[in-house]
Symmetry: none
Subunit: 202 residues, 2 copies
DNA sequence: ACCTGAACACCGTTCAAGT
DNA sequence: ACCTGAACACCGTTCAAGT
């Protein structure tokens, strides 16, 4: 149970390491200040010095976790568990440009171009092409996992439709008013969707 | 701020009155044992005697509140299979006003009010209240299914978060350009999500 | 600047003791 | 059976004090 942080790390990095390792073990569960501080071998005060609120800690740690598996080719890195690779690849579709003000701008453009008014045939075709590309990418990732034996053979088109609906719901949630549990919620919901892909019997 | 319960009520009913009135005032905020007990003018121990856990209190109070709002709901018609009832109830959230041109208008208003610009605190609170109400309704439906034994006991808040993310993704898909498989796709994806709820082992 | 640990104001739950 | 209130083991945050 008791784990020690790697040596030679700064306090701040030990805190991040502790938080990341705890999230890795039990994703979605809330991190308590004292538990993280204990594993990082620092005081709660030190933790609060680097991360004034628990939310700031989460918002620093979670993007780091994603960034670790973000590169496209990481889908082939079989050192990373298949579940995490699929989550990372979906996360890429969800937040291709960061977690700041950008999602709102993205949605504003998207809304104005494809939704606000009945689109022209050309605009319609453009959107359908983008949408197919998204599906193609997810299906590709699923195929890779199938081929290496991590995932049971199944209807990958259907799986992709389901996963991308979830991603779409999470994406729009990013720009609605929310109560600050956004990233935790994303992790939880994506994890649930991915569990279905891996566990459902066809 | 200090309110007194109606006279002549039993302790148990004063507790329910207190919890209901607090949910009504500040919907969504968690109910603390001590706050409810104080308003009900009983001790925390008495509250725990009637409601051994905070969850049991919530699960007694919430259905009471709902029955006041939506008494007619096919969710209780046990002649219909539980899976279908859950799907039907989610479909109601998805398309409360029909499946024609309306979704586009709905989304246009929603987008303009809550997303386009950084909302004021009042608008933000308004959205959060609506969102919590949606979650509460789904949780209520899940509770009904649990109580009749159709659904394994589980974390209904988490289940609702997942289901409503899926509903949200389907809702925005209604207004994007599509290839006409919309309804088929909705049923497939909703079915998948509902399967997870019924089949996943916790 | 970085860090400590006590202190504060919460939380849900448990329980010996009363009626 | 019903009720009390103290006690326990948590939580996030604040802060005077050290280096």
């Amino acid at each position: 149970m008791e784990q020690n942080p790697p040596e030679g790390l700064s306090s701040r990095d030990r805190i991040l390491w502790a938080a990341a390792s705890m999230l890795g073990e039990h994703a979605g569960s809330a991190l308590s200040v004292r538990a993280v501080a204990a594993r990082a071998r620092v005081s709660t005060g030190s933790l609060r010095h680097h991360f004034p609120t628990q939310r700031e800690l989460m918002e620093t740690v979670l993007p780091m976790l994603y960034d670790m598996v973000l590169p496209e080719d990481s889908i082939h890195e079989s050192s990373i568990p298949p579940r995490e690779r699929l989550i990372a690849s979906l996360q890429r579709q969800l937040a291709p440009s960061g977690v700041d003000q950008r999602p709102r701008d993205d949605w504003r453009l998207t809304f104005e171009r494809y939704i606000k008014d009945e689109p022209t045939e050309a605009v319609r075709a453009e959107y359908l092409a983008i949408d197919r590309e998204l599906h193609r990418r997810v299906e590709y990732v699923l195929t890779v996992l199938e081929n290496e034996g991590s995932l049971a053979k199944g209807d990958n088109a259907r799986r992709a439709r389901f996963l991308l609906t979830v991603v779409s719901g999470l994406s729009i949630a990013q720009v609605f008013p929310n109560e600050g549990r956004l990233l935790q919620n994303e992790l939880e919901v994506l994890g649930t969707a991915v569990d279905w892909v891996f566990d459902a019997q066809p």
